[in-house]
Each structure stands twice: as C-alpha cells, then as structure tokens.
C-alpha cells in the first residue's frame, strides 16, 4: 500500500510499529483533502439573555451599579437612561460569562507593577473587580457625604463620579480611576451592543446616533445617499421579546 493511498482513504498509520500509541486525538482534528469531511463547528447560536433574574450580581449590587450607570448615561430628552435600557442586565450576564472570568487574559505570574505604557498587570477578573469595587464605592460615598450613594442628589452623584474618574476620590484595594474606566466601558457596551445581550432596549442607543444596526449591504446607498441624512429604522440580530 502506498502512502498516498493511505492518505486518500483518510486513515492514519503509525510510522513505525514500535510505537505503541495510536493517533486518535479527541479535539484536534485531521482534515484530509478530498475526504469531504471539511466541516467547521458552527458558531454558538444567538440567544436573548433572560432579564427576569440576576445571574451574578446581588440585588444590592445591581441597585448600586444601576444608580452609577444612570449618572453615566442618564434619562433625558435624547432618550432613556442606562438602567431603563437594560445595562444592568447586560453587565450581570457579561460578568457571569467569559468576560467576567477574564477567560482570555494572560493571568500567569509573577504580577509586577510596571511602567504606565506596560499596561494593567492586575490579574483580578472583572467579576472580582465589580464585587470589591462596588463595596469601595459605597464606602467612599458614605465617607464623603455620610449617606448612601443612592440617596445623593443628582449634582452630588455627578461630583462624586468625577472624583472617581480622576482618582481624586481614592479606593483602598484598587485604583478608583481604573474602576471608573471599566464602568464607563461596560455601560457604553450595554447601551450600544445588540439588544440580545440585555441592553440597548428598543435600540435606543442606535437611534441616538442614527446607527442602522445589523444591516449587511449598503451598496444602494454608498453613492446615492453619500453625505445625506439617512432615516432608517435600525434592525437587531435578535430583538428581545
């Protein structure tokens, strides 16, 4: 039997009979040309998150982070605010998933603080950072105003969050300004990602800026609508029922 014939048949043959092992990897796949077996795993199915219950945050954490999010993206004449848009639901599900677990990050040690241009070196996960960061935020508000963040006036909340943003109001176990950056990034994600992830209710974030959403072909408009206002009702991949 010629080697070429073996390959054609899609069979694996040990190079020498002295090796006892047989080539049978379970996850690694071997695709032989012409075998007709070239099939990829389909991507995970699209799913709408279940907003009826919390999956990571506690009720108290959800309430606090919702109040913070509504300072960052408030309800006003341009549209609904972050909580109404579902940003807390969005965050809750993100923290329960691979993002919350920092599943893709390099998390081996040693952990050494470097120069600013070397980037964040902490190996704490977003889920962990929210758990400790929200406690810190609650304490910092209590220390500054003598009452809960939830009970502050709008102006007090804004001033307080400016102090967190700049780091002028410090935390004890993590950098308040880095926690702020994560809050701001996540609330924007919730407000502007596809509604299937739990936020951007009624595509409110997309309507704010005139973004058409999950449209895959603009050839008709590239020239005819160049430089013009396009009034289009946005579409999502999967709207919430």
């Amino acid at each position: 039997m010629k080697r070429r014939d073996i390959i054609k048949g899609g069979l694996m043959l040990m190079a020498t009979s002295t090796l006892a092992s047989i080539y049978k990897p379970a996850c690694s796949k071997t695709f032989v040309g012409g075998s007709g077996l070239w099939k990829a795993e389909p991507p995970p199915p699209l799913m709408v998150v279940d907003s009826s219950r919390l999956v990571y945050l506690t009720e108290a954490e959800a309430k606090l982070v919702g109040a913070v999010f509504d300072v960052l993206i408030p309800h006003d004449e341009l549209g609904i605010g972050a909580t109404e848009a579902g940003c807390v639901t969005f965050l809750d599900h993100q923290l329960a998933g691979p993002y919350g677990a920092a599943a893709k990050d390099y998390r081996l040690g040693p952990v050494v603080e470097g120069l600013p241009q070397q980037g964040p070196q902490s190996i704490a996960t977003p889920a962990e950072l929210y758990r400790t960061g929200l406690v810190e935020l609650r304490h910092a508000a209590q220390a500054k105003f003598g009452k809960s963040f939830l009970d502050l006036s709008e102006d007090q909340k804004i001033d307080f969050m400016k102090g967190i943003e700049t780091g002028d109001i410090p935390f004890e176990t993590l950098k308040s300004n880095e926690f702020f950056s994560m809050l701001l990034q996540n609330v924007r994600e919730g407000y502007l990602a596809d509604p299937m992830y739990g936020g951007n209710r009624d595509m409110t974030g997309w309507k704010l800026i005139g973004f058409p959403g999950a449209i895959y072909d603009y050839r008709d408009w590239m020239v005819s609508q160049r430089g013009k206002k396009i009034d289009v009702e946005p579409v999502s991949l999967l709207s919430r029922a």
Partner: protein, 591 residues
Amino acid sequence: MNYKRPKADVVIIGLGWSGSTMAEELTRAGLNVVAIERGAWRDTTTSFPTTRNPDELSGSVRKDILQAPVTETYTVRNKANQTALPLRKFNNLTLGNNVGGAGTHWAGASWRWQAFDHQPYTRVMERYGAKQLVDGLILQDWGVTYDDLEPFYDRFEKIAGTSGTAGVINGAKQPGGNPFEGSRTSLYPTPALERTRANLLFSEAATRLGYHPFPVPSAMIGAPYTNALGLNLAPCTYCGYCQLYGCGNWSKSSPNICILPVLMQRPNFTVVTESEVIRINTTPDKKMATGVTFVDSNGNIGEQPADIVITATFTLDNTRLLLLSGISMPYDFASGQGVVGRGFTFQTLSWGFMFFENEYLNPFMNTGALATQIDDFNGDNFDHTGMGFIGGAGIQSLCNQGLPIGMAGLVPEGSPQWGKGWKQAFQKGYQNYAQIQGQGTNFAHREQFLDLDPTYKDRFGQPLLRITFDYNENDRRSGRFVRDKCVEIAREMGARQVWGDSFPDRPYSGYRLWDSSHVQGGVVMGEDPKTSVQNRYQQNWDIPNLFVIGASSFPNNAGYNPTIVVGATTLWTAKAIRDLYLRNPGPLVRV
C-alpha cells in the same frame, strides 16, 4: 501519550495567508503536504454567516475570533535595561487564531511595496549617503527587488481579487491611480471601491494642495471575480463589520475564500487543527530539519516528520519558534552579533483627527480598507536632503469604523465622556468625525529586538517572546513631519476642529488606542549570513530544508500594510522550492 504521524514531503506550521499560499503551490506541484495549525478549522459559510456576523460586542469588542493572550502573549519593554512585562490583554495586537490566520479578520489594505522598500540601503546610499542615518539605524537590502517580485505580486493579486486603480502600467502613468507605485504589468483584478464623503473631501483638499490622491488597493472585492484558482468572489457590500470580523459575504480576500476551498479538494493535502507546534526538530549537528513536534488539544505530544519544514506562523511566533528550537544564532544586543530577533520593526503612526460641524458622513457604510491616500510623502518619493530622517508615510483618509461602541469615545475635544453632555456630543460627533492616518515607515535599529523572556512562560511552560522596542530618532522626526501634513490636509478639508498626534512622541505601548498591529523582522532575509537568518529565497543559511516565510523576513517596514508582500514573497519562495530546491536539494545561495 506521544505519537508520530507518517512522514510528509513538507510540513507547514500555520495555515494563514503564507501557509495556505505555500500549501497550494506545493500540493499543485505534487508534493504531500501536512499543515499543523493551532486554531480550529473555519469555513466561510458555516463560521461567518451574514445572519450572525454583524455583532460588534463579540466581534471588535470581545474579539472572539482572535488569538487570546491566554493562548500566547508577549512581554514588552522599551529599553534593554527595563524589565519586560506581559501583555495581559491585547489592545493593538490583533492576531489570527484559526485556519485562515489573521487573513480571516484583517482590514484588507493590499499594497505592493515600492522598489525603495526592498532596497533601502542601496537607495539611501546612492541619494544621500550614510550621513542621512540616525545613530543605531540598521538598513539593509532584501536580496530580492521589486522587479524580481513583480510577477509574484501580480499572481497574488489575482488570487486575492484585489480592487484598485492602477497608477503605473508598464512604466506609463495612468489617471486616477498612484503615480508613485512600482510599475505594474496588469490592472488590478477588480475596480476600486466607491468613495465615502470623507474620502472625497480628502481627495479634493489634497488635490488643491498639489498632492496626488488615489484609492487604496483593497481586499474588498470591487466586482464579481473568478480568481486565479477558479474560485468565485463577490463584490463588497460596505457592511462595516470588516476589520476584526470574518466576511461571510465572500467579499474580503482571505485564505478561507481564495485558497482553502481548492486545497480541500486535494488528497495530497492534510491539515491537523487545534495543535500547536512547540519545536522544529533538527539533526544533532543542526544541519537539517527533520520535522516538527506539536501539542494537540488533549495535551498529547505529536511528531510530524518531513523532508522540508516551512514555518508560516505569525511574525513574532516565527522568531520565537527558531529561538525555542535553537536554530541559527540569536541576536545579542550587547555585542551586536547574531541574527535571530534582530531587525525587528513596528509601524510609525501619526494622525490628523477632525470634527466637522454639519456633515452626514454616515460612517457605518465602510470597509476595513476604505481609504484614499497620497504617497507624496511616503518612502523616498520626496527629497529628504537636510531633513534628518529617511522614510515617511502613506497619508490616508481612512473610513474603517462606524460601529457605535468603538466610536463612543470619539467626541470633540472639550466634550464630556459621560452624562447628558456626552449624549449630545456623541449624537453630533458620530456623523461629524473623520481621521487622516499617516501610516509610517519604521527601520530596524540596534536597540529594537526580540528574544526569549527569562521569567514569563506560556501555557506549556515555554518562555514567551520578549519585545524590546521604542521608537527611534528617525521615527520621531518622520512622525512629526507626517503629523503636520495630516493636519494641513485636515484643515484644508474644512473641519471645525482639527488636532494632530505623532505616536513616537511618547514611549511605545501595546495599549495605545488606534495603534497598528504590524510587526516585521526577526528572521530577516538578506545577502549576508552575518546580518540575516535566511537568503533571498527565505531559505535558512544553516539549514537548507528550512524556510521561514511571512513578514518576519522583512528587514524594514514601509509606509504600507504588509499582507500582499507576504503573499508575493511566499510565491517567490514556492517557485524557488519547486524549480530549484527539489531538483537539487541544498543551499540555493552560496556565500
């Protein structure tokens, strides 16, 4: 459990652009080829359906289809006396992680480099002399010229279906194209894409200033096209889910749509997926390569013996594999001796950012490489006498982003980043933001290099690659020059608010927003074994059956993107293997 696969004629490590291009050439020549790929098998129809793909969160925000740092990362420092630390998250590095490699998600700018870029040493010495070089700069020719490569550029464009407007055909300038480009023997396979409003404003302003705008050649197919391998490609639809996404529309040149469907039909081709090569094996005297050792996704160690070993992983990993395998002499920064890891380059970016007052730029209608450029200040297209630097940049109106999460921070200077004021600023800014990118040269320097990190390890316990890089004085001078040109054009475009930035004015960081992912060198090709790892055919000087292909072979970066050059040099090497090496296995260049 250890196992050994049957011996192949050729083993190729990595099935991205260079690996699949090489596999197509060598299987067509009748060789039995096995590719070992770290990522999973991906096919266009199943993996990137247009009904699933337009999702910014999983795409450009979470980067689901890209290489993750947990799989492999790199440590970085600016200077050799600092401690390198790992990139725990990737920001500007956007690397491929599946069959197709970075060719699946790339932005698609499809440049031939100029004659100067392949022979910078000769050209600079002829025109200016050594006094033009800042201290420590390393300049060397590739050993292969633009004229050598032209037929291979031509062939690769016809595989990719590149869209564009020719500027020079057989030495004659053509209207609408790039008057500075190397002479072509044929038109671009497909016509240039439509321009955006921002592209047109740029083009008009640049023309008024006396410059020469043209459409950037692109991987986004300009018209229905049957490529050189007989595969049918479809016109781009400007959906805007492009850079960092796979294209399910068969509209962005990639190994997945341009090559792999053909390879899949050839019984003399096999790919082993989800298996990472950890070492290139050699004979004890290191005179010949014998194959590769890999770890599969069960943690089993496999061996693939082969007569020819071709390393076609990402630039950085090509260098790392040679270092991990003890092949060729590592570069020693202190003595300046050694070659592996030497000649590492990045990209020098400068910017002009602008906000208009009452435009509708409709940024959501875009592609990854939808840009109009001038080359008046690129490469050696202008006289550098007395300027204290060499090189320059392609200066382009780049319309590659319109997705809302990515643009949420782009509000006019002085606007709040959150609260009621942000909502107002974002609503207006989204339609009024435009940018001019100066994508600049970076030349090798004795203080820019790659080696193995002494501390940090990957998931298998092998040392990570360490990057020692900061911009050099040549970059600082060229960057500021280019930034001022970007700002000049932005003002001429009539924007209300304009500001510029030259990245070399601050230390290099892997976390800078809008920075490049282009890295080159480390396993450079050249004319002298003392200053290059491989000869002009990308054949290792010490081990004649080892070829390391990709941008790791480039001794310098140009003011362009690297992919088409990767394709052309791969085809050039494939021809050398077919026509020269197989007939007479051994060194193709004798010193």
